[in-house]
Symmetry: C3
Subunit: 135 residues, 3 copies
């Protein structure tokens, strides 16, 4: 049993950006040398989250962000004065970490599952920490 930590750097290009980081996750798990266990991908930010969703049709991400924007609009009677209250809220709703099983030295994802960084206050330089724990 052992533990492995690494970082995935992500450069976002828009205020709201849905970025596939599945390949970086696979790379991190392979680099760990761990063949069975779990991996945790954790956003180190408060206005960008991490989630899983469909890896085939990019419209799923567009729909997700469009709908989140209607539920939590940028402009509202927020008190926080930085103009990104909506970003903090969206990130907490999406969540900041995802835990995925590791088997045969690979993250175990469903056929249609990809891992996504959800940027809600970009463009920025972001960082997702991956921890792999197992044997």
């Amino acid at each position: 049993m052992g533990t492995f930590h690494t970082d995935i750097p992500v450069r976002t290009r828009e205020r709201a950006h849905w970025i596939d980081i599945t390949e970086q996750l696979r790379g991190a798990v392979r680099a760990s040398g761990i063949t069975a266990g779990i991996c945790v991908a954790a956003s180190m930010h408060t206005t960008a989250g991490v989630t899983l969703n469909e890896n085939a049709d990019p419209d799923v991400g567009r729909d997700f962000f469009w709908k989140l924007d209607r539920l939590v609009p940028r402009e509202a009677a927020y008190r926080h004065s930085e103009g990104n209250s909506d970003s903090h809220l969206k990130a907490s709703l999406v969540g900041f970490s995802v835990t995925v099983p590791v088997k045969n030295a690979e993250p175990v994802l469903g056929t249609w599952q990809g891992m996504y960084l959800c940027e809600f206050d970009g463009p920025r330089q972001r960082r997702v920490t991956v921890t792999v724990i197992g044997e």
Copy 2:
């Protein structure tokens, strides 16, 4: 220390279905032989999530799904053409995995907590992967 993987198969019967999988989770933890650690229950899908909630009154699940339906209705100006954009969005809001402590060879849940598969695009055959890691 060791790692144990197993699958919980779940047959859903409706488009939106709130299914208690707490007993299957307990069974998976017992089968693992691990007495102290954590267990991760992860949906292998993009339109079905996993969450915890009240195990006593089934109306809690009904209220949850009813309210989610009002927040993220099935029909809207979505681009994804499969008619299940709402399902993808609801699943990402609920989340795809839950991590629970393991103590005395049992998942540690609060008195009122049960684990639920949240089907948003059924009926389908679903799969929740349970990973137990510990000693």
Copy 3:
């Protein structure tokens, strides 16, 4: 490799209460003696969740709760008869557990990240279980 369990007791003072538990989390990780791995903070309740968010401006928490209240109001056509359906729903949206990497005997949080108990049906005595697993 080893496993460590402890509880963080939290006394909430209002129906909706955003409480910083970052220091308690740090204390739990230090007490574990584990220097590398992960820690899982899990709410043992169905109407209180756990999330990360900004630790600098308390208005972020206020905005979050205000907006959640507009999305999931206390009064609606709920079936659950205890008057806290909104609390169950908000807690499931926020989530019941957060997993954070552990490095150098500390939880690895981003510069602006703090951990929060989100009380949605207080005031109550609450409990967050922290499990640390690693080496």
